[in-house]
Symmetry: C2
Subunit: 187 residues, 2 copies
DNA sequence: CATAGCTATGTACGCTCGTACACATGACCT
DNA sequence: AGGTCATGTGTACGAGCGTACATAGCTATG
């Protein structure tokens, strides 16, 4: 946007540009090294900013983590929305779910790693619990556009389990196996 | 209890079962504080042994974690075996699965925490991947005593997802909801 | 230009960590 | 009994961490 220093008579009290970049860098580090390997120094290194910048923009490391996970969860939930929003009837919703699992979830294992990292982190840090629950709620809401609440909840759990086991297993599920599992449950 | 330091210390001087007790202490610490909070010093404190004892019995902290997770996975898999071993026909196997989820999995959330901690740890430490896979394999094997391999795999995933979402959610699933989900899939 | 005040940085402190290693101890053999 | 040596312990070291904080730099104003 307006990077021109001469803009705005009113002083910009805050520079969201850098803060955003730091959150993105944090996401990158979490995915790469895990929450355990996520430190002020590592994030600063990745974002190419001085260490002091971390404490300036965030009051603690937990705050960085919370913001990073929130951003990731929002992006992930949006994928759910998009896939399912395109569906018009129940059959195409089923197809959307299968595509979602195959392409967006199993297809990018980093997202699963992020999810599991979040689950673990949330178990110890109450601030992150709300993020987890908001994420789950949003994916359930998306499913409820096409399925009744009970089905949505169970289907959501099934998807999570399928993705988790598929990614962690030595032999990932084939698209046909995914289709089989989802259809068996839904029909 | 003999709290006299000299007595206790002398008694501990030669302690063949110490390694085992350290692994149990490690399990306790992992469940309590997470892998991130599991340190040589904390394990030693819980087990009431000197710090040096850790490096004597284990060549690294990763080795402690690996042994602890292996032990936990074995115990968890045994629960699967017992529940399902008691079943004689398909219907009682379904009941066994429902009981397993309700009483052993959702009923003791610590086990779920351990599982997720293991998943995260395994993502970064190859030595732990074999533990995860062995665990999954054993629960699938147990299910295959009563269901065909495809069903066993899908059911295993469904169980994992149900437990995960139930425990992490603000409103845990009721026994009836669990029964509904499992029966809907299996019948 | 001078100045004031907000933004941003470099550095240092206190702490915890994993690990190494010199040394103490006591069980067992002869 | 006395010596040997695996078993077990206490301590110290260097690295990396989160965070605090004095101050440098810039920009809007007078």
């Amino acid at each position: 946007m307006t990077d021109d220093p001469r803009t705005a008579r009113r002083a910009r009290r805050h520079d969201p540009g850098r803060r955003d970049r730091l959150i993105d860098a944090a996401l990158h580090v979490i995915a790469e090294r895990g929450v355990a390997g996520t430190t002020h120094r590592e994030i600063a290194r990745v974002a190419d900013v001085p260490l002091g910048s971390m404490t300036y923009h965030f009051s603690s490391l937990d705050e960085v983590l919370a913001e990073a996970f929130t951003r990731h969860a929002a992006a992930a939930a949006e994928v759910f929305d998009e896939r399912l929003g395109a569906a018009t009837d129940r059959d195409s919703a089923i197809e959307a779910v299968i595509t979602l699992i195959r392409d967006d979830l199993i297809g990018s294992p980093n997202d699963l790693v992020m999810a599991v990292e979040l689950y673990v982190a949330a178990a110890r840090k109450p601030a992150l619990r709300a993020v987890t629950q908001g994420w789950m709620q949003r994916s359930r809401d998306a499913l409820e556009r096409h399925f009744d609440p009970t089905t949505a909840r169970e289907l959501d759990a099934l998807i999570e389990g399928l993705v988790l086991h598929s990614v962690l297993s030595t032999d990932p599920m084939t698209p046909d196996q995914i289709r089989h599992a989802v259809e068996r449950y839904l029909r």
